[in-house]
């Protein structure tokens, strides 16, 4: 039986998920995720070509908010749980390159 996922893929996924997994965890997860994925593929027994995907159980739409300002938390409350701050800012180690939306 072919393994569903190998250690290399597990490393890649860990990188995407921003988890610095240990080697022991990578090994453990490779086996466990493989078994789970193997099980999950049970879904392939079902013919679903004609079935709509169901992301929301509720048939509701257009739930809006009026464009009215409400008070924000304020700087102190916003930063209250910050692991590190610098004045009114959150502080993080130097970011090297900017991304964008």
């Amino acid at each position: 039986m072919q393994q569903k996922i190998d250690a290399q893929q597990v490393r890649k996924v860990a990188k995407l998920a921003r988890l610095d997994l240990t080697e022991a965890e990578i090994e453990e997860f490779t086996g466990q995720l493989g078994a789970i994925l193997q099980y999950v593929e049970k879904m392939n027994e079902l013919e679903t070509a004609e079935v709509e995907p169901l992301a929301h159980c509720l048939p509701i739409h257009n739930v809006f908010r009026a464009d009215q300002v409400r008070e924000s938390l304020g700087t102190e409350k916003t930063l209250a749980n910050a692991p590190e701050r610098d004045g009114a800012f959150f502080k993080v180690p130097k970011i090297l390159e900017d991304s964008s939306s």
Partner: protein, 490 residues
């Protein structure tokens, strides 16, 4: 009868009548917590000063004849998945161990507005991921009926606190059975409302399209009372349902009226997966309903066997995204070993998340990643639709479905922790309900040979909680399983 053995309704009425004070009831609960919780481990934090102060205020209001809320003076426990602007909100995780929420969850607001006394916040599987509360990053909780066993999960702290009468009622959350399964393991009532019935605002998200907050109580009436307080539309939650579409109500009104011409649907083949003692207890419960005049119809639920597969893809996919925010930048744990900003993410998450959380984040990330999305995530959404279809068709033929809440009674601590798939498979009777968004309740319906409680699960169509509670109450009124208390704890 000692105060702690009163139901929430009885307590509320006696407080209102001035027969018992809220301070007295709160002290009784805090004393029990002091005495029993070192063994049970139900609470992550207790709020004695705040609780007593609020209780005093309720007593004053009642003495002064001022109007009070529907839960006036009743000590309640809440799962630590709910944000409170007081104390900590940890979600059972080391990553939020010192987190102080600046705001209250909508349900917490509603409890406070109803003059309930929040005595403490209960233990849970980390981020509600688990079926035994063994995945808590902060504390171990045991089953009050047998302290070598798990209380179930993920709302195991709330159900254990309820079973040990360390509260009069509690709130839990249910993403794939996390109220119903621990309720069945602990011999209490646990209700998962329809998706959209109760606001999720302030409920720390696990699987957002599946999560619902619900009551855990000693009786069906107490569950109805709590639901009446927490249900209803909330403009802060886009997925909470409009009052006009599905009015929430007073779930106590008409609760004791039996449902005439009740039709119960049974999927025999599906139910056959449970332990013999459980099958027997469920069978006897159904017989009891038949004696009370109900008709039994056999229903075919061909897709329920695929519910676990679909659930573990959808829930983990959503979780992988919901839990991305715990990164050590704006709040929560930050690793001291991070040398650059990327390591702030990778090391904080690695060091503070427990194994099950990492496992699910990995699974969900994989299911959404490029090249696998269609095969796993999209496929699971389609299977979800098929599962919902099973329920829709079944409810054309019956008023409710009855099945076990879990295939086993409470298992031994450590029994399944090393085999996640085995643990997942034990969710067979609960996850489909979340996928379909319908309400479900677990009520005590017997005990196995080891004296462990068994839960009867009842399911009804979306937004029919009132009927669901009436059906549950019909059985409760004819039996006394719910009056049994764990022995040997005291």
């Amino acid at each position: 009868m000692p105060v702690h053995d009163l139901t929430a309704m009885e307590l509320r009425d006696r407080i209102a009548a001035g027969q018992v004070s809220s301070v007295e009831a709160t002290r009784a609960v805090l004393d029990r917590i002091d005495r029993l919780d070192p063994v049970v481990g139900a609470y992550l934090s207790i709020l004695p000063e705040r609780a007593l102060e609020t209780a005093k205020e309720v007593d004053r209001k009642i003495a002064a004849g001022e109007p009070v809320g529907t839960l006036a003076g009743v000590p309640i426990a809440i799962k630590d998945v709910l944000c409170t602007s007081f104390g900590t909100t940890t979600c059972g995780s080391r990553i939020l161990q010192n987190f102080h929420s600046p705001y209250d969850a909508t349900v917490v607001r509603k409890l406070l507005d109803a003059d309930a006394i929040i005595v403490g916040k209960t233990n849970m599987d980390e981020f509600a991921m688990g079926s035994s509360t063994e995945n808590s990053g902060l504390r171990k909780t045991v089953n009050p009926w047998d302290t070598s066993r798990v209380p179930g999960g993920s709302s195991g702290g709330s159900t254990a606190a309820m079973a040990a009468r360390m509260c009069f009622a509690a709130l839990g959350s249910d993403t794939g059975g996390s109220i119903r399964q621990p309720a069945s393991f602990c011999g209490v009532v646990g209700l998962k409302p329809t998706y959209g019935r109760v606001s999720r605002y302030g409920l720390v998200a696990y699987g957002s399209s599946l999560d619902q907050i619900g009551p855990i109580a000693g009786t069906v009436a107490d569950a109805a009372l709590l639901l009446s307080v927490i249900a209803g539309h909330d403009p802060a939650d886009s997925t909470s349902v409009d009052e006009k579409a599905a009015p929430a109500g007073d779930y106590l009104a008409g609760l004791n009226e039996p449902v005439e011409g009740l039709k119960i649907g049974i999927a025999s083949a599906f139910n056959a997966g449970a332990e013999p003692a459980i099958q027997k207890a469920i069978g006897e419960a159904v017989d009891d309903y038949r004696e009370a005049g109900a008709e039994i119809v056999e229903v075919d639920m061909p897709h329920l066997d695929y519910a676990i597969a679909a659930y573990y893809v959808i829930a983990t996919a959503e979780a992988s995204s919901n839990l991305a925010r715990y990164d050590g930048v704006h709040y929560g744990y930050r690793s001291e070993n991070a040398n650059d900003y990327i390591e702030v993410y990778t090391k904080s998450r690695e060091e503070a998340f427990g194994k099950e959380v990492k496992r699910r984040i990995m699974l969900g990330t994989y299911a959404l990643s490029s090249g696998y999305y269609d095969a796993y995530y999209l496929k699971a959404l389609k299977v979800r639709n098929l599962i919902r279809g099973d329920f829709v068709r079944a409810f054309e033929r019956c008023d409710c479905l009855m099945m076990p809440a879990a295939p086993t009674t409470a298992f031994q601590i450590g029994e399944k922790v090393d085999d996640p798939l085995k643990m997942y498979l034990a969710d067979i009777y609960t996850v489909a309900v979340n996928l379909a968004g319908i309400p479900g309740i677990s009520i005590p319906c017997g005990f196995d040979a080891a004296g462990l409680p068994i839960g009867l699960q009842i399911l009804t169509p979306a937004f029919s909680e009132a009927k669901l509670l009436r059906i549950a109450r019909m059985y409760e009124a004819r039996t006394n399983w719910h009056t049994r208390k764990p022995v040997g704890l005291e």
